[in-house]
């Protein structure tokens, strides 16, 4: 059994770490690229959202590398993601791909359904080992998130353009290379040292929060490397959700203390959005309110074209923006998006923020 899964930013690092620790053979799909998108968009429904198209492309490319089992997450709506796996599988089947599909659904009737699927994937490992594997993956997610936060801080302040990104790549390799939980602390030390080597100078920076749909937030290919671009424009970005926070919220049910949680964001959403709307719609609104309260200079909302929860959020953002005095920019992405158009809008928005703050 060769297991593959879709890409979502750096998620593959923790998933591969977890599965390989448990002795599962993993095929990580090639990094999401133009080719992935072309393959996916060709066979996916026209109005499906971008993540579905990229997932599909990932599976097709992973199959070329010998993957035969898909590991996917499920859901119970109303966001489309909950039905992704079934539709993607139907498409792959019609195209003649021979895949086995294992969907981790949130248990509706009996927790046994989920456990039996985990057992199916992990084979002979004991439950204790499975728990350790999950913990190992989670720790890597924490490290990657820490690294990303550091990079967000360094990028607008670096003296040599690109030095942060170079260090980031090296540090990421250190994290990827760890095969056993006992080696994590030393790797963490090396990562810190690498990042400390980036030369910076103090300068006024703008602070911008990025909110929106989780996949487009986490996947640099989908958002045209927004965080890096913002960094080069002199902006310290913050993302409303990081991978480890998402894992804590959705898999550990918020058991890990001291992390930002979605509950907080949802509480901040009324009176702008009074009800959950699926996906991360209410979190988007709530996080924007929280960024405004924390004195951020602006907020960027990211969403894939036709994303229903984010469209609802987008509809209430203008009122929120005027009410709380925080400028917002909404960026919709799909297979038709162009880089130049995005850059123009981004530069205009950042100019506006800089002028407002007087840091031109």
């Amino acid at each position: 059994m060769k297991v593959t899964f879709p890409h979502m930013g750096h998620m593959w690092i923790c998933l591969a770490a977890m599965l390989e620790y448990l002795g599962v053979e993993v095929v990580v799909p090639p990094p999401t690229s133009k080719r992935t998108l072309t393959l996916g968009a060709r066979h996916a429904p026209e109005f499906a959202c971008l993540p579905l198209k990229l997932n599909l492309g990932n599976f097709m490319e992973a199959s070329e590398l010998g993957a035969d089992t898909i590991l996917m997450a499920g859901g119970c709506g109303p966001c489309r993601f909950g039905y992704y796996a079934q539709v993607e599988y139907a498409i792959l089947e019609d195209l003649g791909y021979k895949y086995r599909l294992v969907v981790m659904e949130p248990p509706q009737r009996h927790v046994g359904e989920l456990l039996s699927k985990i057992k199916y994937i992990t084979g002979h490992s004991s439950w204790w080992e499975v728990v350790r594997g999950i913990r190992f993956g989670y720790q890597k997610a924490r490290m990657v998130d820490e690294l990303e936060r550091r990079a967000h801080y360094l990028r607008p302040r670096e003296i040599h353009r690109g030095s942060t990104d170079k260090a980031f790549k090296r540090a990421l390799r250190e994290i990827i290379a760890v095969k056993h939980p006992r080696d994590l602390p030393q790797a963490g030390e090396r990562v810190r040292r690498i990042m400390a080597g980036v030369a910076i100078r103090p300068r006024p920076v703008l602070r911008v929060g990025i909110v929106g749909e989780i996949f487009t937030l986490l996947e640099p290919f989908a958002n045209y490397d927004l965080e890096r671009r913002l960094g080069y424009l002199g902006v310290q970005a913050d993302r409303s959700i990081y991978l480890s926070e998402w894992i804590n919220d959705h898999l550990f049910l918020g058991l890990v203390r001291g992390l930002r949680s979605r509950k907080e964001a949802c509480r901040a959403a009324p009176p702008y959005l009074n009800h959950f709307v699926g996906g991360h719609g209410q979190e988007t609104v709530g996080s924007t309110v929280m960024y405004a309260r924390q004195g951020y200079d602006g907020v960027i909302q990211l969403l894939p074209f036709t994303c229903m929860p984010e469209i609802v959020a987008h509809s209430v953002l203008p009122g929120l923006s005027t009410g709380l005095g925080i400028p917002t920019l909404t960026i919709t992405v799909d297979e038709q998006s162009g880089e130049a158009g995005l850059m123009t809008r981004l530069e205009a928005f950042i100019d506006l923020l800089a002028r407002k703050k007087g840091v031109v």
Partner: protein, 329 residues
């Protein structure tokens, strides 16, 4: 003076009007329904809603604007879930908030949550709704009973083969039920969200156009709920959109039924749920090989284009009759 309650002729108006209307009227309120869709109503909706919002919701904005200055309160229930473990679409969950922040100068909105995700009875919803108008629990209960009765009668009429406007005419204007149009024309099933296929302006008179061409038209709502669900249960996973359940179940039923000759799938541009349910339907159709037309509607759809495609579709169905069995055009 009786209080005027406004109900927009949009979204699930075509499913639930008897339920809402009978309830309000039983409580002694006057119900005002927005006027049938016109260009003016649609334009007003387009101007007051975001670009990436879908056509049905933008149209609903137009209907809210049509009612805005004519009623004392606006009834916009937050339709979270109309069946156990199912939702409708995220936009239905957020609709009251979208309206509240998109349109200024509104009369008070009444937007209690209609949520059957974990329960079976809508009674608590009606109690919460009725409390806005009266403290009399008995009056609310009686109004609820009458509303449920009217709704059941409405569903009965739909299952007899009537379309919403005809059934509403029977219920509220005392029009006779009429005979089901017989005739030997081909039968076509129109599968789509109620607010797209039953709004004559939005669908460009699709249903009456088909009827005029001698086609016997069927829709998902002419089938009993149990039948639709039985069919949809063949999906690999329970579908969590109620409207999607209905569309997939009906499409699959009509695909197998020998007296339906073709299927027209109607969706609005960039509809989220339809992008997946429509895909599942069209894949199944391709396997079984029935004539299939996929119509996508948006605010720029032109009548001539739709007519051309419709004619081509009907021609195709006609020609297939002359083919030996098992061959396709």
């Amino acid at each position: 003076m009786t209080l005027k309650v406004g109900i927009p002729r949009a979204l699930l108006y075509y499913y639930y009007l008897p339920l809402w209307r009978t309830f309000f009227e039983a409580l002694g309120l006057e119900v005002v329904i927005s006027r049938p869709t016109t260009k003016t109503i649609l334009e007003a909706g387009l101007q007051n809603s975001g670009d990436d919002v879908c056509l049905p919701v933008r149209l609903a904005f137009g209907h809210v604007l049509d009612l805005k200055d004519r009623v004392d309160v606006l009834f916009l229930p937050r339709l979270v879930s109309i069946a156990r473990r199912e939702y409708i679409c995220p936009k239905f969950l957020g609709f009251p908030d979208m309206v509240r922040h998109g349109i200024s100068g509104l009369p008070p909105l009444i937007d209690p949550n209609f949520n059957l995700y974990r329960k079976d009875s809508p009674y608590p919803f009606f109690v919460a709704l009725g409390r806005n108008f009266t403290g009399n629990r008995l009056a609310i209960y009686l109004a609820y009973r009458r509303a449920m009765h009217a709704q059941a009668r409405y569903v009965q009429l739909l299952e007899k083969g009537l379309f919403p406007e005809q059934a509403l005419a029977v219920l509220y204007r005392g029009v006779a039920e009429g005979q089901e149009p017989g005739g030997g024309g081909p039968a076509v099933a129109v599968i789509g969200h109620p607010y797209n296929i039953y709004d004559p302006y939005i669908s460009m008179n699709l249903l009456s156009r088909l009827a005029r061409s001698g086609v016997r038209v069927r829709s998902a709502d002419n089938l009993p709920e149990t039948l639709v669900r039985e069919q949809a249960a063949r999906l690999p996973k329970h579908l969590f959109w109620s409207l999607g359940q209905r569309m997939i179940g009906a499409a699959w039923h009509y695909l197998q039924s020998p007296d339906v000759d073709g299927i027209i799938h109607v969706a609005s541009f960039a509809c989220g749920p339809d992008s997946l349910t429509g895909e599942l339907i069209s894949r199944e159709v391709r396997r079984r090989g029935k004539p299939f037309l996929n119509l996508t509607l948006d605010e720029h759809s032109a009548e001539a284009g739709v007519v051309t495609r419709l004619e081509a579709f009907l021609d195709m169905m006609e020609r297939r009759q002359f083919l030996p069995a098992g061959e396709s055009v």
